[in-house]
Amino acid sequence: MTRYNRNTIVAGIVIAVVIGGVLSYFASEDPDGLEKTQGDLGATQPAHKGLDAPPVAFNEYSLKWLGEGFWSHAAAGVIGSLVVMGLLLGLGRVLRRARQTSSGGQGSAGSGS
């Protein structure tokens, strides 16, 4: 991996920790724009059969085993950000490789990581 790309990824980890882990703890607890609108209009009761993912490891933005509080919230924020980053790095590599194969490796000579 080039130094340029390594620095980019380090920046991602710092963002995950600082914003997802720390800053998000101080977020406003008030309902967001949609929740507030639904509340004002009296439209808070689901009228249809919905589908919620089961809370396997996280209860919303708290890690289940840590209960509530700063560390639980911080863990959820950091893990969530890093999961998204990991998912996209993997997907990006697959998509890039697919292009190299389909175009006979043109256009990215010398781009080996």
Binding site: G33, P46, G50
Partner: protein, 221 residues
């Protein structure tokens, strides 16, 4: 602005799933050509940033908060196909891991926070690709931020209305008024944050954002 589970009727979420599914399929087909070595890490970092930033609700009016959408800045920095892929990934993780947004509403949420703002952002992208992006780029991006959030808020209300999820006594115009008034303020923040983030990222990662290739390689944006 995540629609929770149980608020959309099957026709409404089905239609939105079809639209967003098509947009994602098209984005995946186009993505390979736009990905170079430095864009993959940029995609990952921008995904982490938008996920994290969405957790930081800021107070907006009395008793109301807003959070960044992020689709607009992804559209500017990555273009529409990659931006849509990043936003869809974020919303899928939010829905499946953190119960944020209904699983059946994923198509609708991807359209509102991904497809729509990413397309608007991509339109503003060429202004930022100029050697010295000036006031025009800032203003267009700011206005696009407001427009993207208001358009998304309007689609959400229309979907709730179509799904019969607004009480009978509430008129569509009234619902749109309440939703769009709040989101006007959220949209202004979205626009300002987008301008600041785009400026910053262009400052430190211009080559990766614009696909400027090193000497000897064919450039591709």
């Amino acid at each position: 602005m995540h629609i929770a589970s149980g608020f959309l009727s099957p026709p409404a979420w089905g239609a939105m799933a079809a639209v967003s599914g098509a947009a994602i399929a098209g984005s995946l087909a186009l993505a390979g050509r736009r990905l170079d070595d430095r864009k993959v890490p940029l995609m990952g970092v921008m995904g982490a940033f938008v996920f994290a930033a969405q957790m930081v609700n800021f107070p907006i009016l009395a008793g109301t908060s807003g959070h960044l959408g992020g689709g607009l800045l992804l559209g500017v920095l990555l273009g529409a196909p990659l931006g849509i892929i990043v936003m869809a990934s974020i919303l899928v993780v939010q829905a499946l891991v953190f119960q944020d947004g209904g699983v059946e509403a994923l198509g609708a949420n991807i359209f509102v926070m991904g497809v729509l703002p990413c397309l608007l952002g991509a339109a503003a992208r060429r202004l930022w690709a100029r050697p010295k992006p000036g006031m025009v780029a800032y203003i267009v991006t700011l206005v696009s931020g407001v427009a993207a959030v208001l358009a998304g808020a309007t689609v959400v209300v229309l979907l709730l209305w179509w799904s019969g999820s607004l009480p009978g006594k509430v008129g569509l115009a009234e619902a749109l008024g309440v939703m769009d008034f709040i989101h006007l303020f959220i949209g202004i923040v979205e626009g300002l944050v987008s301008v600041a983030v785009v400026r910053f990222v262009l400052g430190v990662r211009r080559e990766a954002v614009l696909g400027v290739a090193p000497v000897g390689e064919g450039a591709r944006a």
